[in-house]
């Protein structure tokens, strides 16, 4: 009895009674009212404290892992550089595939002639695109006089051929000449190279009827005469017309449809399919 008279005894009994009552209330009601009130009142404070502590934790982690981030950053930068390089290579391959597909379509469309595909491997030393070198020659069935074309149009004619190489004079070469037809008017003429116009990658139209009604923008195609070029292949577009004082045509400046500075693959027509 003396224990229960002491304050410690009273405290123990009081605590146990409160705990028991709380337990009974929780058991029957499912919730503890004191807990509910405390949580409701303290919720903003605990939310704020959690937010601040999370921020501090993030900053500490960031500083702690800074060196790891730096190393990871360097690795990622190296990866990005590598991926960019591969991306560029893929883009180049894709471009090549597109060009080759276009060339294949052209080859398949020319059913009356036999063809050999070749790659442009060099230009004339003057870099005026009047002469180009391709990587196939006699061993591949290419001979001087063969026509060289791309999907864009006529490139030129093979003038020299070795075992595994060939030189091609383009349509802008001063010595070249190509029979053409104006697609709009059916007027015929000759495209010739010119040493001055060659520097601007142009050539000139001559031997056309002086009364021919040609205008700037007219498309010129191969006429098929002479047996060198198949007919109806694009050659160029008229850019300028030179007339005499009477308005009669002297000559016209022609821009070839083929961009000689971007030549990669070409098709050589080396014969007629019987």
């Amino acid at each position: 009895m003396s224990f229960f008279k002491k304050k410690i005894g009273v405290a123990v009994i009081a605590v146990l009674i409160i705990a028991a009552v709380s337990s009974v209330i929780t058991h029957f009601s499912g919730t503890n009212p004191i807990t509910a009130v405390v949580r409701t009142v303290m919720s903003p404070f605990t939310n704020g404290a959690a937010h601040i502590s999370r921020w501090i934790d993030e900053q500490v982690n960031f500083i702690w892992e800074a060196s790891a981030y730096k190393e990871q950053n360097e690795q990622l930068e190296a990866q990005i550089t590598e991926l960019k390089k591969k991306n560029k290579e893929v883009a180049v391959y894709q471009e090549e595939v597109e060009r080759l597909n276009t060339l294949l379509e052209l080859k398949n469309s020319i059913t009356n002639y036999s063809t050999v595909a070749a790659v442009v491997i060099g230009y004339s030393s003057s870099n005026q695109y009047d002469r180009i070198e391709i990587n196939k020659g006699v061993f591949s069935g290419i001979n001087p006089g063969n026509t060289v074309i791309t999907a864009d149009g006529v490139v030129g004619t093979v003038t020299e051929a070795g075992p595994n190489w060939a030189m091609v004079d383009t349509v802008i070469a001063p010595k070249s000449s190509t029979g053409i037809r104006v697609s709009r008017t059916d007027d015929v003429g000759v495209i010739e190279g010119d040493s001055e116009l060659c520097r601007e990658m142009m050539c000139k139209l001559t031997f056309v009827d002086k009364e021919a009604n040609i205008i700037v923008g007219d498309i010129l195609e191969t006429s098929g005469t002479g047996g060198i070029y198949p007919p109806s292949l694009n050659v160029g577009t008229i850019r300028e017309i030179s007339a005499d004082s009477m308005g009669m045509l002297n000559y016209a400046v022609v821009e070839p449809t083929v961009d000689f500075s971007e030549l990669h693959e070409v098709l050589v027509i080396n014969g007629v399919v019987q």
Partner: protein, 157 residues
């Protein structure tokens, strides 16, 4: 004024306990700041009733916010505060009393928790909480002494 200060301290430490201390977890143990505060206040407080009520209130708040068993936490905090305040030892200074009693009660509590959870009572499961709580007492006691009880520093013995 003292009661208000004690209440503010209790609320701050409970918020820290529920939101912050899990970031400083070592060996799966976190410091029990509120419990250390209750022990320190019980050592320093001369009024038995106030010490016991403070322990009970802290137990209620702690049990409510941390989601532990409300009744168990309330009883543990209140009885610990009552016991610590009732047993007056005069040979040691308050800080050493608080450290010693906190260590003993933490050991008893760790063993009890392990037994109730039917887990093994390992040295780590006892020593780690003791060390953490003693460290908390060493930090909280001087601050509480300075801010609430305004006691002059005494010699250790």
């Amino acid at each position: 004024m003292k009661r208000i200060k004690l209440l503010i301290w209790a609320v701050v430490l409970i918020i820290l306990d529920s939101s912050v201390t899990h970031y400083i977890r070592i060996f799966d143990t976190v410091p029990a700041l509120t419990y250390a505060f209750v022990i320190c206040a019980a050592v320093m407080e001369e009024d038995f009733k106030l010490a016991t009520i403070l322990g009970g209130v802290c137990g209620m708040l702690y049990g409510s916010l941390t989601g532990r068993s409300f009744e168990t936490v309330f009883a543990a905090f209140a009885l610990s505060a009552a016991a610590v305040n009732y047993i007056k030892g005069k040979s040691l200074c308050g800080l050493l009393k608080a450290v010693f009693r906190c260590a003993v009660l933490t050991i008893l509590g760790s063993v009890a928790i392990s037994v109730l959870n039917r887990g093994a009572v390992t040295a780590l499961s006892v020593v780690a909480p003791v060390l953490y709580n003693v460290a908390a007492v060493l930090v909280i006691y001087p601050i509480l002494e300075h801010t609430v009880y305004n006691q002059k520093k005494k010699s250790l013995i």
